[in-house]
Symmetry: C2
Subunit: 303 residues, 2 copies
């Protein structure tokens, strides 16, 4: 089963055009809403520090709200608890949730607790949005940008799975970026004011570029050597004989932003990088250094 | 781990008094929000018709919105799909979701799809609420009422678990009430106008009576022979040598309403029944025929 094909069929069945962005826009209420779940052994290991699981469950949802120009306000937490998880573990997850809600200045106003076979945390978030910035707004002539650096979270995930006894300082930094990503709330006002199309990078840059190209029906050209990489990722790639750009293009769970805007709107004070341009319209296409970019993002059900 | 104790600790940790009703009230926005999950082998069997699973996932959330006087508006569906579930099954679940959203006049505006070990459907619902009717408002002198009849869903569940080859017509009716409960949207305006305290009966009448008593800090007296039972439940109890009142008091997943109001507000046109009275205040207590009622509702983690 392919996730995106299934979503298309569901959209058709529900006759809902609104489905397809990082969040759903409630125009009348000027709110945007989203939900995202984290499940044990699918999105995290039970051995991770429980606080990081709670913090991340909030971050991934804040990231979606922010990507569409929203300011997170309220959240509900739906917790699915298996029998082998003890109360102190759950309370530590909630310590992470509390810490995240303070960091993002939002209120957890309720939720639900259910028995389950595996630990799961489903978060539902409501944001306030004046101008909803979707995946549809990219225009010919726009610069295409990303925030931060890419691939770090994926490298951190690979390092965690190596289960080493000792990690070097640069490895610990990458692991931290996987375990405790922070959503880009510093971009909220900027997105609302200047950005034409936006989404967060949760499934890998290549996959997300195709989302913008498809939804905006435009041709995007990006350049490999423009993709911002951290020094830590470069060290990781060298030590593990991997291509760091490959990791950056396919690595999921970044929670950085991918957006397009008029070149004149570039703000050098933000940690953003122009990685390409919208060069044509009328068909969806993504070119990497002139060649069609393979869609290699992280997809559920892709095995 | 006891669900209610855990919820109390989480409330304390988050420093959130708002948590504890069927839904969370966003006073400024005049909205109430809720989430409730259904998980395979915890809340349903994969052998149930998939449409009924989708329909019920919406109903249980509508029931919460309605219980607090809300009118359901928008929903998100978070679907957790194991590898052994095929696409046609999922689309049939969505047929049920669509059918329910038409029935309740609400819009499913988005959601999320994730890989999982067991099928799970987590629904988030937003309602519009002018006057939020909580569990706290019961007053001395109020009548205590329930809508519909109680115990049917629990009997239907027991019948399903018997896995008989053939069911009698009355048994099929009870099964239908378990598989496809409809939330009491016919009570929305009534609750807003006349009701002092309200909640839905999802964990069993005895448990819910204690919730009202505790949250309102009152003494409630109810009478066994006033509890409304369907003819089908009476037949079931007779055939299975069970006490129908026991089933009605402890049976979960009713999605009927439990509420309190001034006696003069009784409306004989509604299918509601006075089962007791609020007789005192200052301490939480529930009396059944004069004796303290054991709290026997369905609780997760109770074993």
């Amino acid at each position: 089963m392919r996730e995106f094909e299934l979503i298309d069929k569901i959209k058709k069945l529900l006759n809902q055009d609104i489905i397809g962005d990082d969040t759903a826009f409630l125009e009348k209420e000027k709110l945007n809403i989203t939900c995202d779940v984290m499940i044990e052994d699918i999105h995290f290991r039970i051995s991770y520090p429980p606080e990081t699981i709670g913090f991340k469950a909030i971050s991934v949802n804040v990231s979606d709200i922010v990507a569409n120009g929203g300011q997170p306000l309220y959240g509900l937490v739906s917790l699915m608890i298996p029998e082998y998880i003890e109360e102190p573990y759950i309370l530590r997850v909630y310590e992470g949730i509390k810490s995240a809600s303070e960091f993002y200045n939002l209120s957890i106003v309720g939720g639900n607790i259910s028995k389950a076979q595996k630990l799961g945390i489903d978060v539902f978030l409501i944001g306030k949005v004046d101008r909803f910035v979707s995946r549809k707004g990219a225009k010919v002539g726009d610069d295409v940008l990303v925030s931060g650096t890419l691939g770090d979270s994926n490298a951190g995930f690979r390092l965690l799975e190596q289960k080493k006894k000792n990690y070097t300082p640069y490895e610990l930094k990458l692991i931290e970026r996987h375990l405790r990503p922070t959503a880009r709330i510093d971009y909220i006002n900027y997105i609302r004011k200047y950005v034409n199309a936006s989404m967060d990078i949760s499934d890998g840059l290549s996959s997300e570029l195709w989302h913008i190209a498809t939804n905006s029906n435009v041709v995007i050209e990006v350049y490999k050597d423009k993709i911002p990489l951290s020094n830590e990722l470069k060290l990781f790639a060298k030590d593990n004989e991997l291509d760091p750009y490959e990791i950056a293009l396919s690595g999921g769970e970044e929670y950085q932003l991918l957006f397009s805007q008029k070149p004149k709107n570039f703000n050098p004070f933000l940690d953003n990088t122009v990685i390409g341009k919208v060069v044509d319209e009328g068909k969806p296409l993504v070119l990497l250094d002139g060649k069609a970019l393979e869609r290699k993002g992280f997809e559920h059900f892709s095995k």
